[in-house]
């Protein structure tokens, strides 16, 4: 299919997400407003009030209930969407595991925000990085355009009958959620066609009958009941298997979408920028990648071999792709916008350094904790990181593997 004509709208990140969910023909939205996600819920409730969608909008009393409503709706075969941030995601923690364990393909926008205390409404990745083990696919976007594109792709990925994994799409609070951007949008009918209708895998039920995997009184099944030491382990292994096939499906859907929209974000898993001949590179997730790209352009124009690896999909971790992308880089700085107190660096650093341990050539890998609670990530900080990496190459040693950047001493 050829690239279609699109309409440019001025949207902030939250509005882009709400618009994508609207076009994706969602059956159920259950959500509870929380800064900086509020605009998503507001916009979507306006669509409902105006009769622009036939979505069942459930006003719940908490995020725990919001996700429970979405999980159960998805279990009946509905398309379900929710959105949250920070403390809201933390309150969902229990149900995140129930959702993935029930193989309910819920799509959720997480507008990344710091966790209390002290209370802070601005961006960092503490809220979703801590949920990396809960069995959800995690995609982090760089800008509002990508937020729009990723929400549409997310439904098609999550609902793939081979996969049935819930997805959270992370977008940086305020930096993206509240910042107006030109967003190219696809026609309604095309998005509806792209996402399609849910297809159901078949399972054997308790009566020995082959039935679709959904809660339906006509073809009863029991989903997610008691499971002790006899079968729990096997069911967890099945979830891990779905994660292992997820990269293939994420790439496929990303490519299929690129064909109609003309937009690609690397291969859908990683988004490398000038890495082919880079000697030093930054690895990061989210909107900071945009700032890093600007600095890469600047340094490249001066002949410096610098690059960036933006990790778009954090779960499942694209191990092979990361290894390949960084195979010739000599020094890598991983930027983490969250902190594992008492650990040796942040979540992204753990993964990158861990993956590179098995690589034939070990580059130097250092970690920078930055931007907690919305602290500005000034271009000077990125310059400093590239200078530090250069110094590591010159001296052939790492002084401090884990550092804070943008912090006052």
């Amino acid at each position: 299919m050829a690239i279609v004509k699109q309409k440019m709208l001025a949207l902030n990140g939250d509005e882009a997400v709400a618009y994508a969910a609207k076009q994706s023909d969602v059956d159920v939205v259950a959500a509870y407003p929380i800064t900086p996600q509020t605009i998503i819920v507001e916009r979507f409730s306006e669509y409902v009030a105006n009769g622009e969608v036939d979505t069942e909008f459930v006003c719940v009393e908490s995020e725990h209930s919001a996700l429970t409503a979405c999980l159960t709706a998805a279990a009946t075969g509905a398309r379900a969407f929710t959105a949250t941030a920070s403390a809201g995601l933390a309150l969902m923690h229990e149900i995140l595991y129930v959702t993935s364990g029930c193989r309910a393909p819920v799509v959720m926008a997480v507008v990344n925000r710091a966790l209390s205390a002290p209370i802070n409404i601005h961006c960092d990745h503490s809220d979703s990085m801590v949920e990396r083990d809960c069995g959800w696919i995690q995609i982090y976007v760089e800008n509002s355009q990508e937020a729009y594109d990723s929400i549409i792709q997310a439904f098609k990925i999550a609902e793939n009958p081979e996969l049935l994994l819930p997805i959270m799409v992370g977008l940086d609070g305020f930096t993206l959620s509240h910042t107006l951007e030109n967003v190219q949008t696809l026609p309604d009918d095309l998005v509806k066609k792209f996402v399609g209708t849910r297809q159901f895998t078949l399972v054997t039920n308790h009566e020995g009958k082959t039935v679709p995997f959904k809660l339906d009184p006509k073809t009863p099944v029991t989903i997610g009941p008691l499971d002790l030491y006899d079968y729990y382990f096997e069911h967890k292994r099945q979830q891990e298997e779905a994660m292992r096939i997820a990269p293939k499906i994420i790439r496929q859907v990303h490519e299929e979408y690129a064909k109609i929209s003309g937009r690609r974000y690397g291969d859908g898993l990683i988004d490398p920028y000038y890495l082919e001949d880079a000697e030093t590179a930054i690895v990061c997730v989210g909107s900071t990648s945009g700032t890093v790209k600007t600095i890469v352009d600047e340094l490249r124009s001066k002949g410096m071999k610098v690059g960036l690896l933006r990790l778009r999909t954090f779960r499942p971790l694209p191990v092979k792709e990361i290894t390949k992308a960084l195979e010739n880089v000599k020094a890598v700085a991983v930027m983490d916008r969250s902190l594992s107190f008492g650990g040796h660096g942040g979540a992204v650093f753990h993964e990158i350094r861990h993956v590179l341990y098995d690589a034939p050539k070990h580059p130097y890998v250092v970690n920078y904790i930055y931007g907690l609670g919305g602290r500005e990530t000034h271009p000077n900080l990125i310059h400093k990181i590239y200078r530090d990496l250069q110094r590591i190459l010159e001296t052939q040693r790492i002084q401090k593997p884990v550092q804070f950047i943008g912090l006052r001493e």
């Binding site: 364990g101 029930c102 193989r103 049935l164 399972v203 054997t204 039920n205 308790h206 009566e207 020995g208 995997f213 099944v221 029991t222 989903i223 997610g224 009941p225 499971d227 030491y229 006899d230 079968y231 382990f233 096997e234 069911h235 292994r237 099945q238 298997e241």
Partner: protein, 95 residues
């Protein structure tokens, strides 16, 4: 765990049950067993209605009730609720 149990590739996902729960005999969880005094029992069927496991049945052909010990977990609700104290909970090994 026996070797007959299935591997992760063979079972349906998300804990979908592939056999009915009636094949899972929960009666072996019990410590105390309800024993009925046939003289005292008035066949009011209150115990049938209140049993949380549906383990007490009304048998119309016998005009009497019957305990299904395969599913009775020995909770004692029947004994507690019986209006004529016709049910006594006894240690299973003593019955």
């Amino acid at each position: 765990m026996t070797t007959q149990e299935k591997g992760w590739k063979e079972i349906p996902m998300a804990g979908v049950c592939w056999k009915p729960s009636t094949q899972y005999l929960t009666g072996d969880w019990k410590t105390y067993k309800p024993i009925r005094d046939l003289e005292k029992c008035t066949r009011c069927v209150l115990c049938v209605l209140l049993c949380p496991d549906g383990a007490i049945h009304w048998k119309p052909e016998k005009e009497d009730i019957e305990f299904d010990y395969n599913f009775c977990k020995g909770c004692g609700i029947c004994a507690n609720e019986c209006p004529v104290d016709a049910i006594e909970m006894k240690l299973e090994e003593e019955t």
